[in-house]
């Protein structure tokens, strides 16, 4: 079981590196989905099957699909690819790379000392008991947050009935 964990970890890390270095947005997104699958395997091997299922269904299956929809709507062409290649000069990676390397060293040094524990699965029933028990307030707040996000996204995506032409003439009218 341990080798499966480390293989999934390597897959996730490599896919994530490829996702942030790619020029094409859709291919980077596909690499990101692969990375999420690797992390879901890691969740399962760490004894959290419910979180693994949630990651695949919600994170990779809903949120990333939303990304794909938006990218298809934007319909970026070859000009965007050339622009991206211009921005991704190797000299741009040096500064942030050094900073992130220092932070990584610090984090790895600070997170030492965790124990090695035997493999034990935490069933979804336990998670449900925790969600309906001590964390019920958090669940309600999460639903309020989702409502706020829904209202915000609806309001931001609402197309004004009066066209942008009116804006150019200086008369900005909004049909609420």
């Amino acid at each position: 079981m341990s080798t499966a964990f480390y293989v999934a970890a390597v897959v996730a890390v490599l896919a994530t590196i490829r996702a942030i270095t790619h020029v094409n947005a859709v291919r980077a997104l596909l690499y990101l989905i692969v990375s999420f699958f690797g992390v879901a395997v890691m969740f399962y091997l760490l004894g959290a099957p419910f979180a693994a299922a949630l990651e695949v269904i919600t994170y990779a299956g809903a949120i990333m699909v939303l990304f794909v929809f938006v990218m298809m709507m934007l319909n970026l062409g070859p000009t965007a690819l050339r622009q991206e290649r211009g921005w991704l000069a190797p000299s741009m990676w040096v500064g942030p790379g050094i900073l992130c390397g220092v932070l990584l060293g610090e984090l790895i040094y600070a997170a030492r000392g965790a124990q090695t524990v035997p493999f034990t699965t935490i069933e979804p029933a336990e998670v449900a008991m925790a969600l309906f028990g001590p964390y019920v307030l958090g669940v309600e707040l999460a639903s309020v947050l989702l409502l706020a996000g829904l209202v915000g996204a609806y309001h931001l995506g609402y197309r004004k009935r009066v066209a942008e032409v009116r804006e150019k003439s200086g008369a900005i009218q909004e049909v609420a």
Binding site: A12, L46, A51, L74, V117
Partner: protein
């Protein structure tokens, strides 16, 4: 009985988090910035699950569910903003929205 050190899980979460941070700092395209933020959130979730594996509690998965809800909300609002940015400036560069500069 297989033993996966929770420490390794936290280390892998740290590596993924910093890869996401690198992506946020380097990329100029706003879609890539949003994707890198998702990588960082996912890495934080992995750290929670790894810690919960060590202490054998359900709290890690509960926190992961909350992180998931927050990430979904943020992606919805963020992508609506991306569409507005593209509509307005016809470009996804984050430095075109510089109307408040100076």
């Amino acid at each position: 009985m297989s033993m996966i050190p929770a420490q390794h899980g936290i280390w892998i979460a740290a590596i993924l988090f910093l890869i996401g941070l690198l992506g946020v700092m380097v990329r100029r395209d706003i879609l890539f910035v949003l994707m890198s933020i998702e990588v960082m959130l996912n890495a934080a979730g992995l750290a929670f699950i790894a810690a919960a594996a060590q202490w054998k509690s359900a709290d890690g998965q509960v926190m992961y569910i909350f992180i998931l809800a927050m990430a979904a909300t943020e992606v919805a609002v963020g992508l609506a903003l991306v569409l507005l940015l593209y509509q307005r400036f016809k470009s996804l560069d984050t430095s075109v929205a510089s109307g408040m500069r100076g």
